[in-house]
């Protein structure tokens, strides 16, 4: 067979594979879009939470997954976004729709102020620093007057009936999630993505080979912070009440890391797999907790945190590349990149 013919054949199969992928993605998106008007209210709410966490996990994944910088304070950007929307909306009468991009901008500014110096640190020290910064922000928000202190902020509600309301948030989170997934998909195939992976694999040689590590890490952080800030703003309008304990909860930071890890760090599919898996697990555990008697007494619903912790330990030790790692191993592909 001549090489020209071979090239033609491979090009055609490649083209066909992309076509199938595109059709599959379009079908999935179409299905999710139709579901928004078909399924009952509580399912709409549950799926909105799934979309929000996928959005957060994809934003976290840009720096955490591809570049290997574990940010244990993702909730900082999320909370800053939520509070920016809250403060602007209730105290400065800014239109709610306008507060959402502004929240993203504010989160980016915070990322620039605290994250960029933090990026001078590597490995575990970066992780600890981001953790402490989320505590610091929480203390600050609890004690400032403008944020309403510990008593929080009541958000204005949208002028629709409850079901329409939920549907609006469903589509808002769905749209943003798709954007974030698409972004991750593109990053994974771009020079930017390759450079981030180079930073994860070995930062010093990457720098020597001409990768602008500092600038790239900063971009990855700011991008993630912007998306998390936007997510926070929409979350604020969705829950209609924000206060420092819940909005800056460490649980959110840990869940985002755990969900990305379970799905597979540094892959665009990771959060898409990990988030529903973990949220379904949590839901099942809560249902089981109500029914299963355990050593003569019923299990309190909070025990899902313990199970989450055990999953975190097991996945980190036994399957550090998550579900995607297992999938790739089955397919016989390489584990990374």
């Amino acid at each position: 067979m001549s090489s020209a013919l071979l090239e033609q054949v491979t090009a055609r199969t490649r083209w066909r594979r992309w076509l199938y992928r595109g059709l599959g993605a379009a079908a999935a998106v179409g299905l999710l879009a139709v579901l928004g008007v078909l399924i009952p209210l509580d399912w709409v709410t549950t799926l909105s939470a799934v979309f929000m966490y996928i959005l957060l996990a994809e934003s976290w994944n840009i720096l955490g997954g591809y570049a290997g910088y574990l940010n244990f304070g993702m909730v900082t950007f999320f909370g800053v976004g939520a509070y920016t929307a809250g403060v602007l909306c209730t105290q400065y009468n800014v239109h709610p729709l306008l507060t959402i991009p502004l929240a993203g901008v504010m989160a980016t500014v915070v990322a620039l102020l605290v994250g960029v110096p933090a990026l001078r640190l590597r490995g575990v020290y970066f992780a600890i620093l981001t953790l402490i910064i989320s505590f610091l922000t929480q203390v600050l928000v609890t004690n400032l007057d403008i944020t309403g202190g510990a008593s929080g902020i009541y958000m204005p509600s949208l002028p629709f009936d409850p079901f329409t309301n939920e549907q609006i948030f469903y589509y808002a989170f769905l749209g943003l999630m798709l954007l974030a997934v698409l972004l991750a998909f593109i990053i994974e195939r771009s020079r930017f993505g390759y450079a981030l992976v180079a930073i994860r694999e070995d930062e010093d040689p990457a720098e020597i080979l001409g990768v602008h590590t500092t600038w790239l890490k900063t971009q990855a952080l700011l991008l993630g912070a912007f998306l998390a800030g936007v997510a926070g703003a929409i979350y604020a309008f969705h829950t209609s009440y924000i206060e420092p304990q819940g909005t800056f909860s460490l649980d959110i930071s840990i869940d985002v890391v755990l969900m990305s890890l379970v799905g597979g760090l540094g892959t665009w599919q990771g959060p898409v797999i990990g988030v529903p898996l973990m949220l379904v697990t949590a839901q099942v555990l809560r249902i089981l907790a109500g029914e299963l008697p355990f050593l003569g007494s019923t299990i309190p619903p909070e025990f899902d945190r313990v199970v989450f912790g055990i999953i975190l330990i097991l996945v980190a030790l036994l399957a550090p590349y998550g579900v995607m790692g297992l999938v790739r191993r089955v397919r016989g592909r390489r584990l990374t990149v």
Partner: protein, 296 residues
């Protein structure tokens, strides 16, 4: 008149700060040991401290044991917990990257915190014994008796550990291991068994630290992050490899806490310590790692 009052207030704050500083040294020692000798960043350290507080609570409520006795009981109990943790998890973690270790230890943190909430709920607890509200007054300066006892226990433990590491053969072997693990192995030191010992000792100091903290402060299953931050601050400022430097850093943090709580409203103490930790990490964090990689 006013100046004498504020002066005695200041002296009181200084003494309280030094007493607290001894306790902070104790709760930071474990973190410093595991990081300096094994290269493991134990973020679950503070949950072990929290468990120590609940051990004291259980022993007091069930058996009526004084926290001073609980502090002694905590040593073997938490040494065993540490040995188990090392065998089950840390020995596996030590062979992987530091970030994998961090993820695993975050998992341990979540499990212990979740289990503590299930067992003891999120209610705030206090240890109340006969001397809880007692205080000694000397030249117009009042010192709370529980703080005095807590500081004394901490001092004894810090001194014991320092002596152990400096003057015994085991201590020498551990220090050799901190300097160069491979060279220590070649010289015939069983580093795996010593890791077990080090992690056991680190966990024991956390347990006793929890008991003595419970004598001074109210506690609940979720406020241990505060102690994690405090301990990290002591470790970052004190550096690795010297208990005396850890002691100096611990005393400094104790002083900073009490003096700033005289000057500012209570809630700003958290803010100040977190901010100090951010600055200290930025200035010294990587230096800490650097000196560690040189030592290892």
């Amino acid at each position: 008149m006013l100046t004498t009052i504020s002066l005695s207030l200041l002296v009181q704050a200084l003494i309280n700060g030094l007493l607290l500083g001894l306790v902070y040294t104790l709760i930071s020692l474990g973190l410093s040991l595991t990081l300096g000798i094994m290269g493991v960043v134990n973020v679950a350290h503070s949950t072990l401290i929290m468990l120590g507080s609940y051990l004291a609570l259980e022993l007091l409520q069930r058996l009526g044991l004084d926290p001073i006795i609980s502090a002694v009981i905590a040593v073997p109990v938490f040494f065993l917990i540490g040995v188990l943790l090392e065998r089950l998890l840390i020995s596996r973690v030590a062979r992987t990257s530091q970030t994998t270790g961090l993820l695993v230890l975050f998992g341990v943190l979540v499990v212990i915190e979740g289990a503590a909430i299930l067992r003891w709920t999120t209610d705030t607890q206090v240890l109340s014994v006969s001397y809880t509200n007692a205080s000694l007054t000397l030249a117009g300066i009042a010192i709370a008796v529980p703080r005095l006892i807590a500081a004394a226990i901490a001092l004894v433990l810090v001194w014991l550990l320092d002596t152990f590491l400096r003057s015994t053969l085991y201590g020498k072997a551990i220090r050799a291991m901190a300097q160069n693990r491979d060279a220590a192995r070649i010289s015939g030191i069983d580093t795996d068994r010593l890791s077990l010992l080090v992690f056991g000792l680190a966990t024991a100091t956390a347990g006793v630290g929890g008991v003595v903290l419970a004598m001074i402060f109210p506690f609940d299953p979720q406020d241990h992050y505060r102690w994690l931050a405090w301990a990290f601050l002591v470790v970052v400022i004190g550096g690795l490899g010297s208990i005396r430097n850890t002691l100096l850093a611990g005393l400094l943090i104790g002083l900073i806490e009490t003096v700033s709580s005289v000057l500012f409203p209570f809630q700003y103490v958290y803010f100040i310590v977190y901010l100090l930790l951010v600055v200290a990490l930025l200035v010294r964090g990587q230096g800490l790692a650097g000196s560690q990689s040189r030592a290892l």
